[in-house]
């Protein structure tokens, strides 16, 4: 049997990230970065946001969101660099930067959410 590549795993992460990003990010971004700061909709109070993020379920949701969205970016961006810029000769470097970056972000998210007071 041919060498088992890791592509299927990365593709599944990319797909799951794509689904998650498509469903959740538009509305969450709209509220968080446009509606609340610009005052179109009254922003929730600090105490409420703190209590909301403290919930284990919220932390899990946010962690999964960050993890999947970052790996979605990593996979897609890696192929865009291959195809769009035709810099295949930097294959390994691109691979490491993309998935390494996603891994770093995931670990950061995990750390922030685990230590959330």
């Amino acid at each position: 049997m041919a060498k088992q590549s890791n592509e299927p795993v990365l593709w599944v992460l990319f797909s799951a990230g794509g689904v998650m990003a498509a469903f959740v990010i538009p509305v969450q971004l709209f509220l968080l970065s446009l509606a609340f700061p610009l005052g179109w909709i009254p922003a929730p109070r600090y105490e409420y946001m703190l209590a909301l993020v403290r919930l284990p379920l919220t932390r899990l949701y946010l962690f999964v969101l960050c993890f999947l969205a970052l790996f979605h970016w990593a996979h897609r961006f890696r192929y865009t660099l291959y195809d769009g810029l035709q810099i295949k000769h930097l294959n390994e470097l691109i691979f490491v930067c993309c998935y390494g970056g996603a891994m770093f972000g995931t670990v950061l998210a995990g750390y922030l959410l685990w230590n959330f007071r």
């Binding site: 592509e7 299927p8 865009t80 195809d83 035709q86 295949k88």
Partner: protein, 249 residues
């Protein structure tokens, strides 16, 4: 409707030219003429050296694929009248992303080789003997692969696929669609054999779902869909082999 239409055809003669160049021809604009008719007119009446492939002239043999105004088309199915109103001449070039042998004729051995690697035939562990009768297939079973069986190997999808253009090792849309045609056929038992070839990086994983292949396919095969569906199959197989190795051969 005007009397004539201009065609700008790419000419390349390997004995004389180091690079291709365009040559302009005036061709009668008949209501029912297709680009292939114009090319045949040029060859018959104007310039007998023009070289191109064609055969059935009815969209079933897949020989006459070329770039018309930058889009991959079957020239026997592309009407001149559709370009009559444009100011610029109709540009006819050989199929993109393939080496050009002469004029509008491209070298297709790469595709032929790749097609063979996916084993586009029914594979069975055990053939039924004649006395046991035919392989029976219900309409529902036929429906699962019928769309992919419509492929006429015209390679317009390869001309539309930027991944194939950038990565010549990529197996390509038609080959994968035809592999799926056999994978999804209820009579076939060779899916695991094809997976070795398809599941490599230059198989399905190089595809980034641009989707242009499906757009240009004259037979509505939807190779992009075939590839994405196979990605899911391959991913499931990979997870199965990781989690339950005893379940696979």
């Amino acid at each position: 409707m005007a009397e004539t239409i201009s065609l700008e055809v790419l000419r390349y003669s390997p004995e004389r030219d180091s690079d291709p160049s365009f040559q302009c021809y005036e061709v009668p604009l008949r209501k029912d003429w297709v680009v292939l008719d114009a090319l045949n007119y040029i060859k018959d009446k104007v310039d007998g050296s023009l070289t191109f492939r064609w055969s059935c002239r009815m969209g079933i043999c897949g020989s006459c694929g070329m770039m018309v105004n930058g889009e991959p088309k079957l020239t026997c199915a592309t009407f001149l009248s559709g370009y009559a109103r444009e100011k610029r001449p109709v540009r006819v070039q050989p199929l993109r992303y393939f080496p050009v042998i002469r004029d509008l004729v491209v070298e297709i051995t790469d595709f032929m080789n790749k097609l063979q690697t996916v084993k586009p035939w029914l594979i069975r562990d055990q053939e039924k003997s004649l006395s046991e009768g035919e392989y029976v297939q219900t309409p529902e079973q036929l429906d699962r692969y019928k769309q992919f069986s419509m492929c006429i190997n015209c390679m317009l999808c390869y001309a539309a696929c930027p991944v194939y253009g950038l990565d010549p090792l990529f197996i390509g849309p038609a080959a994968i669609a035809l592999a799926q045609r056999y994978n999804m056929d209820s009579r076939d038992e060779g899916a695991h054999e094809r997976m070795d070839v398809l599941a490599q990086h230059e198989g399905i994983w190089a595809c980034t779902f641009v989707g242009e292949c499906t757009k240009v396919c004259p037979k509505h095969v939807d190779p992009a869909g075939a590839i994405q569906q196979y990605k899911l199959t391959a991913a499931i197989e990979r997870f199965k082999s990781f989690l339950m190795p005893w379940a696979l051969k």
